[in-house]
Symmetry: C2
Subunit: 145 residues, 2 copies
Amino acid sequence: MLGTKKMFSIGDLSRRTRVKVPTIRFYEEKGLLPRPDRTAGNQRRYDETALKRLLFIRHCRDLGLPLADVVGLLSLEGASGTDLDRAHEIAEKQLADLRDRISRLQSLETELTRISKACDGKHDHVCAVLHAFGDHSECKGSHSN
Amino acid sequence: MLGTKKMFSIGDLSRRTRVKVPTIRFYEEKGLLPRPDRTAGNQRRYDETALKRLLFIRHCRDLGLPLADVVGLLSLEGASGTDLDRAHEIAEKQLADLRDRISRLQSLETELTRISKACDGKHDHVCAVLHAFGDHSECKGSHSN
DNA sequence: ACTTGAACCTCTAGTAACTAGAGGAATTAC
DNA sequence: GTAATTCCTCTAGTTACTAGAGGTTCAAGT
């Protein structure tokens, strides 16, 4: 009854999740992953549950959630009612952030394009790129906060 | 002949550039701003040149340039020839990065929208949001690196 | 001239989210 | 059995700041 579950070393887990080994240990330290069992020689051994949890974390991180929010979501396991509202809220908030970021980046794109064109190929005496970088006044879209 | 230039305290500079006071000192420490003159009582006094330089830095930061690149650009003052190519190169590279970031964020937006809708308003027994966060398989656009 | 109060000084430490390296022990493959 | 690989802990570094402690200086009002 002792060898029934498949167990992974930290390296296996890393390969399967594409999360780096030191990062896994970091998540453990931060409480995102529970402390796993250890071999007699003190090496970590993980099971399927840990694998799923780590994939969940990774997915959240890919989506741009800060670890604090991931912790929040992880704490909702088996939750119901208002707790689920929390999850929904986190998703909504993240989406709003994301849209904001996208639109700000798009206005920067416009401006960078302008700057880059300002000195295309041949440059005159003084390159316009440097001027353009220093000059807010030419920006059409505002990127001030 | 000593009071001809307008001089700013660090707070004035901060207000004019919307760069926070500790950040200005940080830039000085990192060599992005030259060490300014001091009053008899050891307080920093800045002139127009410093103001312009700080605005330049701020603008670059707004555009998403890392400080290392800003240093690179600052070192090109009065440069010519291949040095100007460097400036142009930095702008191009930044633009490419930016476009990449935008497209990745857009695919995340698609997915987050899906996730958020998964549990819209009323939730059943188990909220789909949590499942969706953990589930890569439903993603259409890939956001793997 | 004197007294507040705001703004300034330096220095240390903390933030997010890892990454890198040292020095050494355990595991695995042949 | 031994050699290569992987693992362990611990410390420190990264980026770009931000916050706080404890103390000094400046500017304005009286």
